[in-house]
Symmetry: C2
Subunit: 393 residues, 2 copies
């Protein structure tokens, strides 16, 4: 894996969580000033670090991001806002830059004040442990996790305008994940030379095609943040090179989004929903989202139950006009519903297919137009209930 | 319990379900022509019996409703529509009225054709077993159940214009329940003399204040039907008497809605959400619905976990503009969040309170206006997952 140049990383343990010695504080630093842009949760209740980042982005001279896990610093009022700013001040002081050049993110329990007596020395410790290369990136990627079971990292390298450019993203997220957001936390770093305006244009497009095209349970988080840092020197990318860069950056985001859906809390199936033949992409996404967020659809997948009526009925309340005869439905290669009429099928065979495949695709084909979308979700399992019934107490 | 006059009921076993000898076919008959109105699912995919009822309502001369459980007769195309009409023809023939005077409902699995070889003799059998009184009503109320664990019946008697008037409702519903609908199936019968126009006006109002103010998992069914039958003779109700009737009918619907939320699949808590101080009732309901349908909120209640941040964050993505400092939150008598700031609380004590009480109330008080709403939901439990993972196969 080629990582972008002049970025350093680390993840350390500072003790935000009461238990164990997990890494819970990550730091990403660009050794050169980086253009930066981001997209953030659309929740009216947004965490203190989100408010701080919104004020500071987009900008030309970002130096890095400090991230803590185990505490969301959300619903924490003025004190939470002061704590988030303080995190950037401590990092900036150790790095020799201005606080405004640093960004900040948090993820974890909502409604608790940060233990700043642990976070402050943790940040100083993190600065001392920064380093280049995959091992250090891995530490940062671990330090942002909460109930995730694995790190999510994706990387692409392209030859653009005669030189190698790398784009590396990492992310976390396992629940409280619904579209209308950027995702819990995702960071995309590149040594390409891209203007802040181009990054600011790219960020929402990339979010729409990746993190906004998946859902665990549709609960939009207070902390969703997707941040791009581009620290490339030399002439800025334009025209076809910029388009190639955009495409690669979107692919990195899509990789991370898919990884999040696959590692969703308690999930035993990654479900890909393909909606085709709608009038617009917005319609396709609305239908996919209704299906992805239906507890009845998700429990049926968990039970390897080809109960396709639940899928069709979820499509029916998505707010998109259609007639049943304009819809056909496939589960994997099995055509179960054709132009509004159920087809006979071997329920035991389809159920066995569902049981044997961790990754399943549902395809809904309408006859309304030529738009389409791909959407990811997961099933709803005993483990999802267990993990979320036991989360704080 | 005073039942309205000149109504007869029954519930019989005809064998729609492959297993057991449960009652699965109900019949309600008014011995006099009854004014009738209804509200039905807003799902684009709606069941054949819903389509038949929509064509026939409102009307002046309804004679009854035939209802089968175990099969929804939804997503069944032209054949399903012919089967639904055939059900009313068989009933009408035995009762000596026209098919158009009969209404029809179904509930159960989607996407399977009705076993008409069992349903047809079942209807004839039901006509032979009709009777008055609570024991016969109880049979009908049992015959419409699917995964419900108990019947839902509510009754009110009022003295209006010098004579006793009774309103009796019965309903079923345990999952695939989301607002934007009438509920799975609910029937409200009265011997009041009410015009069909007044019934047609009342039906959506009653639905809004009862069945549309609750949610199990937000999945709008294909079969939701709320039907009113009023067979009263004599001068029709007007003015204050009509208003008193409306109020009692809405109360009957609200009783049934609350009973459905309390008996939701696998539920271990009935959760009442009170939202106060919004600009409009629509805003209050939108916030309540977002909270009621959040899997994270519902699993926290199952775990007796006072994780109030999930409740506040769900309010935040409901699409209503507010600032955090305009919001305070109570769980039972515990004030946990006041004007945007978390209050210290004894988590173990609140958790014990949640564990010991099957019925819990969450109260969100905004400072935006004077509107309010009451909304019902339930928790998300292992049993919900088990029941829905195992439903058809």
């Amino acid at each position: 894996m080629h990582l972008p140049q002049a970025f350093r990383f680390t993840g350390v343990h500072c003790g935000i969580r009461p238990d164990g010695d997990r890494r819970d504080l990550a730091l990403v630093v660009s050794d050169r000033p980086a253009r930066a842009a981001g997209v953030f949760t659309q929740n009216r209740v947004c965490a203190a670090p989100v408010q701080v980042c919104r004020q500071r982005l987009p900008r030309e001279d970002a130096r890095g991001i400090v991230i803590c896990s185990g505490n969301a610093n959300a619903c924490t009022g003025e004190r939470g806002l002061a704590d988030a700013r303080r995190m950037t001040e401590i990092a900036a002081k150790s790095l020799g830059c201005k606080a405004e050049q640093m960004l900040v993110c948090s993820t974890g329990v909502i409604g608790r004040f940060l233990p700043m007596d642990k976070v402050e020395p943790g940040i100083t410790d993190a600065v001392a442990h920064l380093g280049e290369g995959p091992a250090h990136l891995d530490k940062a990627a671990h330090a942002i996790l909460t109930t995730d079971t694995r790190v999510k990292i994706s990387s692409r390298t392209l030859l653009l305008d005669g030189r190698d450019v790398s784009i590396t993203g990492f992310a976390k997220g396992a629940a409280m994940i619904g579209p209308n957001m950027a995702t819990l936390l995702a960071f995309v770093l590149t040594d390409a030379s891209v203007t802040k305006d181009d990054l600011a244009r790219l960020a929402p497009v990339a979010a729409e095609r990746s993190f906004n095209s998946m859902s665990v349970e549709g609960h939009t988080s207070t902390n969703d943040s997707l941040i791009f840092l581009a620290n490339g020197a030399g002439p800025t990318l334009r025209g076809e090179s910029l388009a190639a860069f955009d495409e690669a950056a979107i692919a990195v985001c899509a990789d991370l989004a898919r990884a999040i859906a696959a590692d969703a809390e308690g999930a035993s199936h990654l479900i890909t929903i393909e909606v085709e033949g709608t009038r617009t992409e917005v319609e396709a996404r609305r239908i996919a989202k209704a299906i992805a967020e239906s507890a009845l659809v998700k429990t049926a997948f968990f039970g390897a139950d080809p109960n396709w009526g639940r899928i069709v009925s979820a499509a029916g309340y998505a707010g998109v006009e259609f007639e049943e005869r304009q819809l056909s439905l496939w589960l994997g290669d099995f055509l179960l519903y054709e132009h509004g009429t159920p087809l006979p099928f071997d329920a035991a065979a389809v159920s066995a297919f569902m049981q044997q495949n961790r990754e399943l695709t549902v395809r809904l084909v309408f006859m309304l137009g030529k738009a389409r979308c791909t959407f990811h979700t997961c099933d709803l399992t005993y483990d999802y209930v267990r993990l979320n019934a036991e989360y704080t107490t």
